[in-house]
Symmetry: C2
Subunit: 446 residues, 2 copies
């Protein structure tokens, strides 16, 4: 971790001017302070944080990366951490406590009020990656029988404890979700109206065990600021907010990206990841693909006689097998992304097959034309024919594999993103070698 | 376009039961209706839409994909479209008008009120991909000298014309942004307070010509529902809302994804894209890479004597050059994504270089170990030595290229995502051929 030369906190901290730090904090957004602060060692950061009001400290910590939050937590100690946790957003504090060493986590929990402790324990019990794990319990509820005026007064009283009161949820006595109402609607209604008369009844909700990516996609689909989360008995247990949904989408996309490059799941910053971690995330696919490539080698060895007789064939080997892999990578990329966004589903495969083959034939013919002149020039008309025929076939086979593999993986409940460019290239290489030398043997030797 | 068998509108439409369609619409979210409706031909959809109130029609059209919206617009005709446009969100209606045939667009504009027409013309003038092009002009403003009570009354009056009043912006007489205030803060303040006393002064804003991806990242960073947009004179001209930011992030990510698979920019659905469109988006990179692969072929041709003398070398060719490409693709993927999310910036390259070489050396040694036994078995100890040495080197060179190319592209203001797996593989292949046969010639022949 190093401090950027333009970090505005650096000169103030070096000269010990804590009043100036407090003043500067008033002019900056907490997200920006979090960014500057994260460049300092945690023990220095904790000293600077202490100059600010406790609500502000909590807000800044909420904006730090999880890794850094953990370092801060360990510097703060159980007592101060517990005081801060009372101010932090409910979903973020659970993430911290789950990652802390057990002893510190327990001490911190002990230092908190009973009701907060129970809230944390409940949120911590939901599995990683579920709606329960990313939701917050700081939502506003109002009863259907309240008048608009009573509802607004209730929201005014409770606002300081809630993440947002832009929308309040209406529940019955068993806490089952009846509907919701925007703060804006309450303001626009007359004071004596009943909440039950003005509420929106068809409030879209998700289930506590829904996958976080699904929840985020629902928030994007319905353009809402938050979605309520229900348990198995239809009771309201939390809300997921749009900012957490955005984070989830970013994080899931990064995972997909890495997978398409055969890199394992990396949590935390790539900038600060250790070499050993990166090694472990990369080695397994590399070794697997080495052995997969043996098929190509075996293919070449099998056709040794043809190759020895027509060494000129080797010149075209890289561009022919490469083209199959490249066309396949294109097809796979298109399908992996379309499956991830939900734009395409399993049953669409057969609908798109015909078009894919047509496109691939077109691509193959164009590329065959491009190389056949080179074929005549370097090997004569017979080799040119072999090269052109091979090109059309490898591009079609490569595209077909690239387009289909994501669907096959998806069909067997595996992640389509596993159909990475390197994997497709390796498969296409082996097919390419066999196609190329089979055609060559048939035309030139027999 | 085909109608899904479970589409709830299908039986109602077939039996001509339009009352039932209207009833069903009351129970469904507009996003869901849009989804069901989009499966119908536009002329049928327009008939069904006509059964609903005009505000609802506009909301449903807002949720349709742009492609489908255009089809609806053409069915609706200028008069009905103009009436609907008065109800639609300001950013969405501009997108439609920009894409409509000029004659229909002009007729529609003529049928709208002067003030709406000017708003559309102004929004339409901002370049594609800028903050101006995705912002809306339906934000709420209040003057700093108003009391809380006056501000709330103003918001109540104007709410029906605004996209959101959750936050109101405070501007001076020249419309320069002074700050902002949450509706929630207004509700919590006492009626006689001045807006200037309770507003948040440091409201983060973006510029009208900022890139849409930057704007979306700012919304994600600051966890806000909307960001104000300023012109060159610091005047407030619009806001970008969180739902549009989410769409931008999704769309930019899809573009990046496609680029890493060497597929050109595709707007609209892959499911309904024409074969000819897909051909055009794929052919240029494929042909380019064919010619790049000629370097590998030339490398092989150059070492023909060595190969003829030691044909066993060919067996290892695919796995050696493949490994360089695979390791390079991993490194490129990590960097392309980290640069896209802003986690890593240009100057971080040198910091990460040492770690990359160390990791690559570790990967190369592991893979060399994995194949050297195979080398002894198939070619004897000398070939095993050649293969092992080559493996370490190609993995290191491939990783170095894969890691550095995204930075080089970024340095020259090109998109780092151009460093696609197929491009890296092609470069690594050529390097691999040269490294392999150079080492082989040196150890075996000389």
């Amino acid at each position: 971790m190093s401090i950027h030369p333009e970090n505005p906190l650096a000169p103030l901290f070096d000269s010990g001017d804590f009043d100036a730090i407090r003043d500067m904090a008033q002019d900056l957004h907490s997200a920006d302070i979090a960014e500057h602060l994260s460049q300092f060692d945690a023990d220095d950061a904790v000293v600077m944080l202490a100059t600010l009001p406790i609500e502000r400290q909590a807000e800044i910590i909420d904006y730090c990366e999880l890794e850094y939050r953990l370092k801060l937590a360990q510097e703060l100690g159980a007592q101060r951490l517990a005081a801060l946790m009372n101010q932090m957003s409910h979903d973020d504090r659970v993430d911290i406590l789950k990652a802390l060493p057990e002893k510190l986590a327990n001490q911190t929990l002990q230092a908190m009020a009973q009701v907060e402790r129970e809230d944390i324990r409940r949120l911590a019990s939901y599995p990683e990656g579920s709606a329960g794990a990313i939701m917050t319990t700081e939502y506003a509820i109002v009863q259907p029988e309240l008048t608009v005026q009573q509802a607004i007064e209730k929201l005014r009283r409770e606002a300081p404890m809630k993440e947002t009161i832009n929308r309040a949820y209406i529940v019955d006595e068993q806490r089952r979700l009846l509907g919701s109402v925007k703060l804006q609607t309450l303001i626009l209604s007359s004071a004596q109206d009943r909440v039950s008369d003005i509420m929106e009844q068809h409030t879209h909700a998700v289930r506590i065990d829904d996958h976080q990516e699904y929840v985020a996609q629902q928030i994007a689909k319905y353009d809402v600021i938050a979605l309520p989360v229900l348990d198995a008995e239809d009771r309201l247990v939390g809300i997921v907010t749009h900012d957490d949904a955005m984070d989830v989408l970013q994080q899931e996309t990064t995972e997909d990206f890495h997978k398409t490059g055969t890199v394992g799941k990396l949590s935390g910053s790539i900038l600060h990841a250790s070499g050993w971690l990166l090694y472990r995330k990369r080695i397994s696919w590399l070794v697997l693909l080495v052995f997969a490539n043996i098929f190509s080698g075996a293919g070449i060895a099998y056709f040794e006689d043809t190759i020895s007789a027509y060494v000129a064939l080797l010149f075209f080997l890289p561009l022919l097998v490469g083209s199959g892999g490249n066309a396949g990578s294109q097809s796979a990329t298109l399908m992996v992304r379309a499956l991830a966004t939900g734009e395409v589903v399993l049953k669409d495969w057969s609908r798109m097959l015909g078009r894919e083959l047509l496109v691939a034939a077109g691509l193959g013919l164009t590329m065959a034309l491009a190389v056949s002149l080179l074929g005549v020039f370097r090997g004569g008309p017979e080799i040119a024919l072999v090269v052109a025929l091979t090109m059309v076939l490898v591009v079609m086979v490569g595209s077909l594999i690239g387009m289909s593999l994501p669907f096959v993986l998806s069909r067997f409940k595996l992640d389509p993103a596993t159909a990475s460019a390197p994997l497709i290239t390796t498969i296409a290489d082996a097919m390419g070698v066999i196609i190329y030398f089979s055609i060559a043997t048939y035309i030139l030797v027999l």
